[in-house]
């Protein structure tokens, strides 16, 4: 088992390396020279050259790549060209807001989407099944920012129940934080809920037809107990897998949601850095996001290896 876990961890190393190559190469595609942009219009050619040298941009690309990667491997993601701050410090500065937002969206999703999907499967082909599936298709089809603005329009502007925008740290003011978080985390959760409800339903539909469910009923378990204790745990694997894959959706959603609700998280940081051509920050953030995605899926796979003895590579 340990060998399997080790193998699985090792297999994500080449993936992260390729991510690094793509991210690095992507930023070198751009026609603009960051030194020229940074130095401003009135800079002399000498000043630009000096800046280029200072940023290491005069080195050949492979050398730049290796230098950067060696730094990343030792936890040094480089410096922001604009603010001169270490990239990692910038990320950690903004991480709290994003994490709080993402975690509350995941909680909302699991609390609402899993039961909805379960009920839809339990009452297969009933009106409630149809309603859940219709909502799920709708969730995939309406852009998150439109939903976000609609929620804001009604809950904040028309009914004045919740604050319009902004972020309050839960460590500073828990009550205010919750009020500020409701709309953004619901907005972020919607697409995710559509996905999870759908997968819960289909996974459960398969399980409900199996013999052990009939046995559980025959033994005189209550319907509710059959569903929650016998059927759902056995339908959990695909649901958890999709939650892992859905992390990518969540990250894309974070960017949009932070933008709508004016939340100072790393999604906004990335967009700002891209628009400002702050290469080290963009590289660091892209790598950071990929690391989260790969890490979460790694943890899920390892959990399977530990829980399910049938899994062999």
């Amino acid at each position: 088992m340990l060998r399997l876990v080790a193998l699985r961890i090792l297999s994500s190393v080449p993936v992260m390396f390729i991510v690094a190559v793509i991210v690095f190469g992507l930023l070198r595609l751009s026609p603009g020279d960051p030194a020229v942009i940074l130095a401003g219009d009135s800079a002399t050619p000498e000043a630009i050259a000096a800046l280029r040298q200072q940023l290491g941009l005069d080195q050949p690309l492979p050398i730049q790549f290796v230098t950067w990667l060696a730094g990343v491997a030792t936890g040094d993601f480089g410096q922001s060209i604009l603010s001169r701050m270490p990239v990692l410090a910038l990320i950690f500065d903004r991480l709290e807001a994003t994490l709080v937002l993402a975690v509350s969206a995941i909680i909302i999703t699991v609390l609402i989407a899993v039961p909805l999907g379960a009920i839809a499967a339990w009452r297969h082909n009933s009106w409630i099944d149809r309603a859940v599936m219709a909502l799920s298709v709708a969730g995939f089809s309406v852009p998150a920012f439109v939903i976000g603005y609609l929620l804001m329009l009604f809950f904040s502007v028309k009914w004045e129940l919740l604050p319009v925008q902004g972020y309050v740290s839960p460590f500073a003011d828990p009550g205010g934080a919750v009020r500020h978080l409701i709309l953004p985390s619901v907005t972020l959760a919607l697409v995710f809920m559509a996905l999870i409800a759908r997968v819960t339903r289909s996974s459960l539909l398969e399980v409900l037809n199996q013999d052990f469910v009939r046995t559980a009923r025959a033994k005189g378990n209550s319907q509710r107990r059959v569903l929650w204790r016998h059927a759902l745990p056995n339908a959990a694997v695909p649901i958890i897998t999709v939650i892992g894959i859905g992390i990518a959706m969540l990250i894309s959603g974070v960017v949009v949601t932070e933008s709508v609700f004016n939340i100072p998280g790393i999604g906004r940081l990335t967009i700002d850095a891209i628009l400002a051509r702050d290469y080290p920050v963009v590289q660091g953030l892209m790598l950071f996001f990929a690391l989260i995605y790969v890490g979460v899926n790694l943890l899920i796979d390892i959990a399977y290896i530990i829980v399910d003895p049938r899994i062999r590579y």
């Binding site: 390729i18 089809s141 852009p143 920012f145 603005y149 990518a248 960017v255 051509r277």
Partner: protein, 290 residues
């Protein structure tokens, strides 16, 4: 292995639509939206979408069905004009993503030696957040139809590759493929004649999802301010320009958003019923996500 529908005459499709009321409705809606978007120059009076300072932020009324935006332009007119580019992005992304992904998937599934490398590359692409990648590509290379479609295609390729590869892996063990290999038929011919037809049904379904997800992505790019140059009417741009005035004039975002949602939902629903019809074995729940 039912690709029969794709080769069947048009009557089979008509039969399918007749049985599936919802699919028929979706297909009709999409057709209507396409026709209207192509006929926009004849339907929409060009003056309506010019800057008209005296008509700023008019609420929806008989004069302006969806109201007017901060520059006095008719939102309905903009939405109709914007449909063309949004649909074009979806169509091109679906076709290019489907084609490139299919070729890579066929090759990686058939030639086992390169499979490991290519699949790790696909894993890596999937690990990079789609939207951020697209924002980076488009803002670095400059926004145009080509760069936007290229960025979205890149994001969609891994899913197509995985799909086609899994079909190849199962069909290459089929007796007729073994027989073809035994008859020393050229490999490209085997791939094209004997393996590719098995991929067609799931590919049709997958490309509809890509179409839907690309339209959404274009809107998000526009919304984040890195889509087509400002002033180009697309659904994303119209909504992006509505952001500043949204609280006073919510129709600037809601109206185009609704059009977009109806379009994407029709495509998604059509994809769902095509999937049920073409390939019942396809697992439910795995679908394109943006």
């Amino acid at each position: 292995m039912s690709s029969h529908l794709t080769n069947a005459p048009a009557t089979a499709w008509l039969g399918f639509l007749r049985q599936n009321k919802l699919s028929a409705l979706c297909a009709a809606l999409l057709l209507a939206i396409t026709v209207v978007s192509l006929a926009a120059p004849w339907i929409i009076d060009a003056q309506l979408t010019q800057v008209r300072p005296r008509m700023r932020l008019q609420a929806p009324s008989d004069l302006a069905l969806f109201g007017t935006d901060a520059m006095g332009r008719d939102v309905f007119g903009l939405t109709v004009e914007g449909a063309k580019l949004s649909l074009l992005v979806g169509l091109l992304t679906a076709l290019a993503g489907g084609a490139i992904g299919t070729v890579i998937g066929l090759v990686t599934g058939y030639f086992r030696r390169i499979d490991g490398v290519i699949m790790r590359i696909m894993d890596a692409i999937m690990a990079i957040p789609n939207i951020l990648f697209a924002v980076a590509v488009v803002s670095l290379l400059g926004a145009s139809l080509a760069t936007i479609v290229a960025a979205l295609v890149f994001n969609e390729i891994p899913r197509v590759v995985r799909l086609v590869r899994s079909v190849v892996l199962s069909t290459r063990e089929e007796p007729y493929v073994k027989a073809a290999i035994g008859m020393s038929i050229q490999t490209p011919l085997i791939l094209a004649r004997h393996i590719l037809p098995n991929c067609v049904a799931p590919l049709i379904v997958q490309t509809t999802y890509i179409f839907a997800s690309a339209i959404l992505s274009e809107a998000i790019l526009g919304f984040l301010g890195v889509g087509f140059p400002q002033g180009t009417p697309t659904w994303g741009n119209v909504m992006a320009e509505g952001r500043a005035v949204f609280l006073r004039a919510p129709w600037t975002i809601i109206a185009p958003g609704l059009m977009l949602a109806v379009t994407v939902m029709s495509v998604n629903l059509l994809g769902d019923s095509l999937r049920d019809r073409l390939d019942p074995r396809l697992t439910r729940g795995t679908r394109a996500s943006s």
